[in-house]
Subunit: 335 residues, 2 copies
Amino acid sequence: MRDVATLAGVSVMTVSNVVRGAPNVSDATRRRVLETIERIGYVPNSSARNLRAGRSGVVSLAIPTIDNSYFAELARLLMDEAAALGWTVLIEQTKGDGELERRALAGYGPTPTDGLVFYPQALAADEVAAHAAGRPLALLGEQGDRGPGDLVIVDNEGAAREAVAHLLALGRRRVAAVGESPAAGTENSHRRIAGYRAALEEAGVPLDAELAPRVDHYTRAEGAAAVGALLDGPAPPDAVFAFNDMLAVGAVHAALERGLRVPEDLAVVGFDGTDEARYCNPPLTTVAPDKRGIAREAMRLLHERITRGDDLPYRTVRMGHELLVRRSSLATAGG
Amino acid sequence: MRDVATLAGVSVMTVSNVVRGAPNVSDATRRRVLETIERIGYVPNSSARNLRAGRSGVVSLAIPTIDNSYFAELARLLMDEAAALGWTVLIEQTKGDGELERRALAGYGPTPTDGLVFYPQALAADEVAAHAAGRPLALLGEQGDRGPGDLVIVDNEGAAREAVAHLLALGRRRVAAVGESPAAGTENSHRRIAGYRAALEEAGVPLDAELAPRVDHYTRAEGAAAVGALLDGPAPPDAVFAFNDMLAVGAVHAALERGLRVPEDLAVVGFDGTDEARYCNPPLTTVAPDKRGIAREAMRLLHERITRGDDLPYRTVRMGHELLVRRSSLATAGG
DNA sequence: CAAGCCAAGTTTAACGTTACACACTCGGGC
DNA sequence: GCCCGAGTGTGTAACGTTAAACTTGGCTTG
């Protein structure tokens, strides 16, 4: 910048004014400065800028892993929304590890970020509150009534209930729920279990604890393993409600691998409404939260919180969902 | 930091020394400073640090989109490798747009990055060279002999040839190639087409231009559309070699949707070796590049270039690949 | 016991940018 | 002729950190 100033015969401050589009610069000067900038290839130093401004223009997105279709799609949408606001998104993978989640919350790392969109997995609501340290925060997923930040949620319990009711309406009576996790953190899986139980109760179907295996990670492999074990067991299910689409894809795989028909012998419903669910075979029935809406609201709330300051009350926005019924659940029990 | 210094009764510099683990600080002082840091919750300001150091500890990863299984998996591996080197990865989506690719190369954006891992799609090799502006660069994918940075490549032509030869060995004679793109950029698709042609020629099968439809994006939807159109046409293929797994999944979907059997009526081979390919139905034969190796080498080369300076010659590392044969191609022609 | 050395800590001066206050020039109104 | 304000532009002092040079006092050593 100093070089530009010298070469253009103006002060450093004038260069700064030109770069920032500030007023009080004549057209002639502006042109001359811009030309010089072009000529010597000057690029503003963001570190210095951030140092001055006290802001970085970067927000973190802390999610378990990026190679999960749901988070990949969500990340893309969030990045699009952020770009529209002039922001950059820095993705951090927490791997469902409490320590990594704490760090993401506290804002360690080499890059300063102005705020955080956080999908907690290992951390319980009170721990999230304890480590947020007053940073602007948008939380994805239910977190008790109020968090240390704004909440963007879907009605997990209602959605789960709807999905299971759909399976029960097809005459299924042994519906497995795959996705309860030892990770204490997110309320999401608890709510989905609650919705599952409510639907069973409503239909007068007895609860069988064996039908709700625990999984550590929401991957295709674990879905296949968990459902495979159930199918090989003494009292196999006739339907599966999986807590995400990857587990559901694994469930379908396990069934087909064993020569069972989907949906005739095993109906499967997933959760997330990913593109993968739509194109797999058979196409997967899935609970589709309004991902675009979630991304938009999360960024909007975070933006307001960062720019307007912390006197804002914590807000909760509930986004809609939709049960996309496809072939994987389109047959009554027994075929 | 000044507050910490005041409260601990030392100079700012001593705090800095403690934070950085520099020598010449007594244990007693160190303890006192650390306590104070803990107490008032001091977090070092990275902007200022970067400003001083002239480095940011962040490297960019510029890929077309993150919601593509291959890039999602690759991103995860790259982030793991980066973390092991103490680095953070900033993902930028170029969407196959030339302008966005140029910006990513030039290093615009609000965050300073020390280097770039770049998967070019729209930009041709010479344009990449023109806009790299001397930044440390690791290129994924073939780019002519030498780029403006290190190259990590797989043998696209050989891999494609192998995949198509596999289909021909099953007696298939009308093998479609899906993935040629109007995007001038990456050599990858050209090389794969070349491998496809070579395999056909080697087997004495005539080339049919109709069997190589162009696609704009490597998505499931476009794969389904392109292959659907071929299947509805006058001379449908009996096999498909797709340039990535998402196109292949779309191809399978299009076939099944039309009541065709996969692999009996249409054999399908993909490219990328994603987890999705393994778990879809039928499981997808796919060319699996050594993703972990690619991630490791890309980060290693970039790290060397950033730390050791630019006097390093440009290097090229060729990674292996493997044809994972699964059910989607396990039937001879006609059943 | 003076000379020298070492550990422990401080002072100073940057890194590149920008907010703020100030200065200059010029035309017009009184 | 003087003052004023608008339009341009400049100087200064930070932002938070750290490399390098400097100070201080205690301890060894010949």
